[in-house]
Amino acid sequence: MITQQMPAMVKVADKDVHSPEFATLYVNQAIDFKPGQFVMVWIPGVDEKPYTISHHSPERFGITVEAKGLFSKKAVSLGPGDKIGIRGPFGNGFNMGLGHQRVAVVAGGCGMAPLAPLVEAFQTGNGPEILLIQGARSKSFLLYPDRFAAKAEICTDDGSKGYKGFVTDILVQKIKDLSANSAPGFDMVYACGPEIMMAKVFDICEAHGIPCQVSLERYMRCGFGVCGACVCGHAVVCKDGPVFGSKMLRTMADFNTRALLKTGQPVPLNEYATWRCQ
């Protein structure tokens, strides 16, 4: 059984290779889960890292890994039968609210991974109308292209698919369109992607009086709010987050400005990102 305590060693049941950069590893185990939560994934002898659950059903879940560093390259090389340790789930997850009529989901690159189960959860039953805005560097970095029934607006930095430009351009346009047509606006905007993108989404939402929720990333150790490695201002990302709403974002000093290196030293986000991509 997977718990927040000792890692449970589980077999990788199968793997989807999405592109040279992305793969999803599936585990045939039940896990208690809310969209936006994450698990700590342990490869003995290598390292342990936090990954959001990107696929979930009652008897199975998956994590999507982007091959970037030592750990993630090892993780995408794993296949059926290989064992990994899992503890979790951790974090708060997205607040899906009650009675939302229309929501926007804004994803940048691998930021699609935590948002995908949210979109699927909204798509069941009497969910809200969903506008999915998905962006990436180029076409091959667009995760899960055929996964959702929801209407999707696609954009890429290089124009290899969809609109050439940023997800935030589309978000602004859609807010204006709804307003021009006197249609009800978005009840909530959910976003995950590069922090600068999420900060832009937050600014846009603030300017239009729309509440939003974003999912942050920081270097983590314990996963349950004790070690302090992932603090962002006064917020403990692994425990208070990783999802933060507008109210918290307004007072979170280090949002879109600073993050801690493994030593605990605060550095500007671009320096942090450079270290994380090594």
Partner: protein, 302 residues
Amino acid sequence: MRINFLGKTLHTPLVLASGVLGNNKAILERVWENGCGLPTMKSIGPAPREGHKNPTVIDLGNGLINAVGLPSPGYLNMEEEWQELSDRAFPITASIYGGSVDEFVRVAEFVSAKGPDFIELNISCPNSDQHGMVFGVNAHSSHDVVAAVKKVIQVPLIAKLTPAAPDIAAIAKACEDAGADAICAINTAGPGMVIDIESRSPVLAFKKGGLSGPMIKPIAVRCVYDIFRSVSIPIIGLGGISTGKDAIEIIMAGATLVGIGTAVRYRGITVFDKVNKEINDWLAAHDTSMEEIRGAAHREAL
């Protein structure tokens, strides 16, 4: 429940244990606002240090095992944090570590000038082979490091001790004789180890790690009890304190202040307010006071 500690007035008798959360000003302040009278910063070392690879902290249900491994930007790389802390409204303890007496002295002298309210010498961390515990298990080396640091700092000195010492009361006495102003006990116990039997691998990347939380509370109570009999300086008692009754127990063993660390895992950051309330409720229900119960377990039973 204000309390005077080495000349400073604290708004509660609760201390945030070093190594828990204390990574920036904002979180130290949040802990203070939630009822912690004295937050402790993460241990500051002589050079930049990343700590160990993950897994570094595992919850065993009745406590944690950890080998985070003393990550630190290094004492020379914290100007931004000291700047931010300079206008703080709350007291802080700066925890420091070194790999030699000279390193302790160098870090302590520099940090003292940055204006923390107290300096805590971490001579008790089990998670590095070169730092910490190697000093705290020996009375002579404990004396030497405390005496050397005491000469170069302007703020009260707290010695943080390890339960791995064969005679922790003797270590405490050596620290007091060397000029320590207070004792903080205990650091994590062990070290211990957990092995995943499926992968046949120790779970922590450092393989061994310090134990904390409810599972070590009896060790902490015994250590504070022993130390109280050997020194006359105040004791910060910690190790598995999660509730007001736990706090009362370690105060009866001899603690003046009570530290909380792992309980943040089980009761959240608001654990400080909760424990303060539980202490007050217990004291009121028993029509007594902190001063009256301190060291009460040492008095002859009626």
